[in-house]
Amino acid sequence: MTSTLSPPLVDDHVVDPVAENAAGERPPVEVFGIRHHGPGSARSLLAALKEYQPDVVLIEGPADADALLGWVLAEGMTPPLALLGYAPDHPQTAAFWPYAVFSPEWQAMTFALERGVEVAFCDLPASAMLARWGRSSPQDNHDDLEEPADAADEAPPALPNEQQDPLAVLAEAAGYDDPERWWDDLVESRQDSSSPFPMITDAMAELRMIMNQGRDAGREARREAYMRQKIREALKRGRQRVAVVCGAWHAPVLRWPLPPAAADVRTLRGAPRRKITLTWVPWTHQRLASATGYGAGVASPGWYHHLWITPDQPIVRWLAKVAQALRVRDLPVSSAHVIEAVRLAETLASLRGRPLAGLAEVTEATRSVLCDGDELAVRYVTDHLVVGQALGSVNDGVPTVPLEADLVRTCRSLRIRRDPQVRFHDLDLRRPIDQARSQLFHRLRLLDLRWIMPADSAVQSQGTFRETWQSRWEPEYSVAIVEASVWGTTVASAATARVHKIIEQGSLVELTQAVERCLLADLPRALDGLLATLADKAALDADVVHLMDALPALARAQRYGDVRQTDTRALRKVSEVLVVRIRAGLRQAVASLDATNAATMRRRIDDVNTAIGLLTESASDPEQSASMTQPELRARWLGTLATMIDRTDVHGLLVGRIVRLLLDAEQLSDVPVRLHRALSAGVPAADKAAWVDGFFADGALLLIHDAELRSLLDDWIRQLEDSEFVDMLPLLRRTFGTFATAERQAIAERIAVGAEDLDRQRPEEIDLELPAAALATVDLILGGPHD
């Protein structure tokens, strides 16, 4: 990086002889005041450069990015691109200088490089610009990302402040109500190639006389002083035709002859600087559009791109493109429509006295003719064509942070593209490539890179080996990657480092979640430390509720670990310890809870019960040498639960629930008696309802199929007094309202049929002859013993 804040002091006396020696009548310095991202400007600039034949091209841009100019012609460099400058010790301090293919700056670069003409940036180095900015706001909040982008590359032409738009003043003087249109007519939509630059420079000079520099006067003065110094430096090196490409606003003060250098040297003296790394990053048209908040943006990069790449008939070609886009959306647009739209656009242009139909005319023609006045369809056209969806790309060799390089490498091997549009990835974890993808995505999640996020989809529910992700690339993720690079040099090591941070600071629940994510992201090195910390934390954490919250994530992790062939033995040990601690603490935890807390506790007990079920199911590992066998673990858990059901200080909801759990596990034989007792006359109505709620909450099947239970419930309801029934109704409804309609109907039908008929519905003696053939086949498939 050739970063020199103050170019060597050049005295104007040294320059003068050079000027005298300059060939021809042309001055040794020609300034081309351009409009950032203006295709007309770029076209005029190219013509002017061809005619001027410069021996050096100086472009407004950070001077310390000169080394990156060598990449411009490299293979794979496709605009839109941006120069990214960031402080390596504080990556949030960053700024972008974006270029599209139609940006005059980009065209100037390619012009010079293709012809072997010397080319350099001449604006204040990023190291100086960001030093000032970084010092004034050192916090690393995310909004900072926008700030420097605005600060570094001002709106065209670099505006002193928003209240005084120099273009608006000029446009008003020319009788235009809209400054954009004025500039469009004057420069952007030009078809001829006579140089507009002297006229623009003169106009800006007038303008600078009447407008003050606003709040950024100091910074603007430094930038312009620096640019002048760079010009002087080039002249001193013996260059005789210096082309300066800069925002129109700066053009007048860079004109030949230059003022004495002494004042500029004074201005630049003592400016702070900080270490800045610069690189090329891909950019998008959306980010170029001012609609997404980028200060120096243009409203219609897609349109400008079209103007730039189309050799002839821009209007016809554009409207044909629009018609294509609308047809894709199933809107009937015929060639006749396009013809009429072209005619309307041209008539409108002539009505308005414009040389050529512009974006305003074609958009109005699109709205009126192609979209039948439908604003939604017009917005679609605006999003997809006027702004455009283009995404640039950079050569692989472009210097970048190691993390980015690793990510690019990984993405290529996994065939994942950075797409600015939303994409869905349906992964089947049984395939190695999808498993690797899933690992990468989970690692990126640990690093808080929001490029790829989990998404909902239909296939997800088809099995634990399915995952669906959603990706959408935004250019600012380049900065996020640079930020994340402080954690490590590869995706895996950075993610591991992130987990270590969680180990140091996280709570128990965060830790267990991290365990799950570590397994999903396949970070075994992070996992070891995590599990050790987890066991310690679990031992120290007195709150059984935390333990209960932590267990399900662990159990799931163990389950997924099996799918992913990771070693989960350590995990199981920790889970076991957790279960033991939960059992010990549960006694106190369930005592004296009110209705709300009881409901939360019921959910926790359910979760833990399910989690223990998961642990049990995964116990088929023959190497398992845990201290406790699976059924034993489960039996002890149920045993602990069984001690709760006769206590009087436990909420009815919980008792009902636990009885149900025990019933499901076939641990309790006296359930009908218990139900009867719980619903008998001595118990207050509210408690009964809570009990029923807990007991039946998640399943109507038991009620449909267990006649004894059903008649018990039926009898109880029939015995209720009228007033009692009314009191109960809301609570009952809350429980049974959660059943599906079909389930409720089934229950009601069974009750209506009555007890006698039920006997007839009981299945007959099963005839084993009938399914014998089918059973034999199943037996064969399962490979059972043949008898």
């Binding site: 009505l351 709205r367 009126s368 003719v369 979209c371 006045g373």
Partner: protein, 366 residues
């Protein structure tokens, strides 16, 4: 705006080309730009007539349409390309108003007009017969009664069709031939009428109302569509109401009542707030009534208020004078709208500074 020569024999509502005769004359004199065949003004002058301006000779042209200039430019350019123009929008967005003035400016004749209704028959669009003559003389050119569209074709001027979507679909289709071939065959006489250059059709339609007939895509394809929006800003709307109220009062010969800008602004504010469902400061959500609460209705509320104050009041427009019209304009559905209205009164009008008189006046008539 008051014309002292006006007498009782003047029509209640003069046509646009009569009311603005002087402006049209001045424009014609000043207009040196090329005119399409049979156009009385150049497209530029038509836009100036609609949007207002000052001519080189100092004649002030009053703005007829207050809103986006681009919209009018698109409309005029459409007519200049011989494509038909469809003005689309909710009621009260000046569709007919614009259409009348466009016809007046381009052809100096805004009367070639068909009012679309569900009972509009094909004869109204093509031609009918004078049956007495038909029986007496047999089919002849004299027995034929041309429709306004046919007359416009013969003269090369603009025909207007109001409420196109109210016309039954099969009758609408009679237009397809006229718009695409620019020819109207008369098989009974073995003749055909070929449109002269300059002929065109301006249709207005409402795409959201009840009981409308969607345009077929074959017909739709022959129109360029311009959607007329509700006014963007409050100032624009106040401006529209003030101008139109002044016009109307003078043509209705209402006694002079000092134009109460405050009262107009209040009515416009109420309409805008109810329409958008949120107060102007964006802090309070409101229920929106079912009516469209267009600018045209605001105009009629003010005009009736002026009539009330002139004849029964003290000659100044008071909140009480607008209140009655206001309730009628807002409450279209007796149940839902009444809730929205009384909520608005209690939540917004009651608290607002300087609105207490208006609030109690509305309470009285609600």
């Amino acid at each position: 705006m008051t014309n002292p020569i006006r007498t009782a024999t003047q029509p209640l509502r003069p046509h646009a080309e009569q009311a603005y005769e002087a402006e049209l004359e001045a424009l014609r004199a000043a207009d040196d730009r090329p005119r399409p065949p049979h156009w009385r003004l150049s497209p530029w002058a038509v836009v100036t007539y609609l949007m207002g301006g000052v001519l080189a000779d100092g004649t002030a042209i009053s703005p007829k349409y207050i809103g986006s200039r681009r919209l009018i430019e698109v409309a005029v350019a459409t007519l200049a390309t011989d494509r038909a123009l469809l003005l689309l929008g909710v009621p009260g967005t000046a569709k007919s108003w614009v259409s009348e003035h466009l016809a007046a400016a381009i052809s100096d004749d805004s009367t070639l007009m068909i009012q679309g209704t569900s009972g509009t028959a094909e004869e109204a669009i093509r031609y009918g017969w004078n049956y007495a003559r038909l029986l007496a003389e047999g089919p002849s050119r004299q027995a034929l009664v041309p429709s306004p569209v046919m007359v416009a074709m013969e003269r090369g001027s603009i025909a207007r069709i109001e409420e196109l979507t109210r016309i039954p679909a099969e009758v609408q289709d009679a237009l397809i031939m006229i718009l695409s071939e620019k020819t109207l065959p008369i098989p009974e006489l073995g003749l055909q009428t070929q449109a002269l250059r300059g002929f065109n059709v301006i249709a207005t339609a409402n795409d959201r109302d009840k009981g409308i007939n969607e345009l077929s895509s074959a017909l739709r394809r022959r129109f360029n569509t311009v959607v007329m929006p509700l006014p963007d800003s409050e100032d624009d709307e106040v401006n529209i109401v003030t101008t139109r109220v002044a016009d109307l009062s003078s043509s209705l010969e209402l006694p002079e009542v000092p134009t109460a800008v405050d009262e107009i602004r209040r009515v416009v504010t109420v309409f805008r707030e109810l329409r958008s469902g949120v107060t102007a400061d964006g802090r309070t959500k409101l229920k929106s009534p079912t009516g469209s609460l267009s600018t045209a209705e605001a105009i009629s509320v003010i005009t009736s208020g002026i009539a009330l104050s002139a004849h029964f009041g003290d000659g100044h427009l008071r909140p009480a004078d607008v209140a009655a019209g206001m309730v009628g304009a807002v409450v279209k559905d007796p149940i839902a709208d009444r809730v929205a209205w009384s909520e608005y009164l209690e939540v917004v009008a009651r608290e607002r500074e300087g609105w207490s008189e208006f609030y109690s006046a509305c309470r009285e008539v609600s």
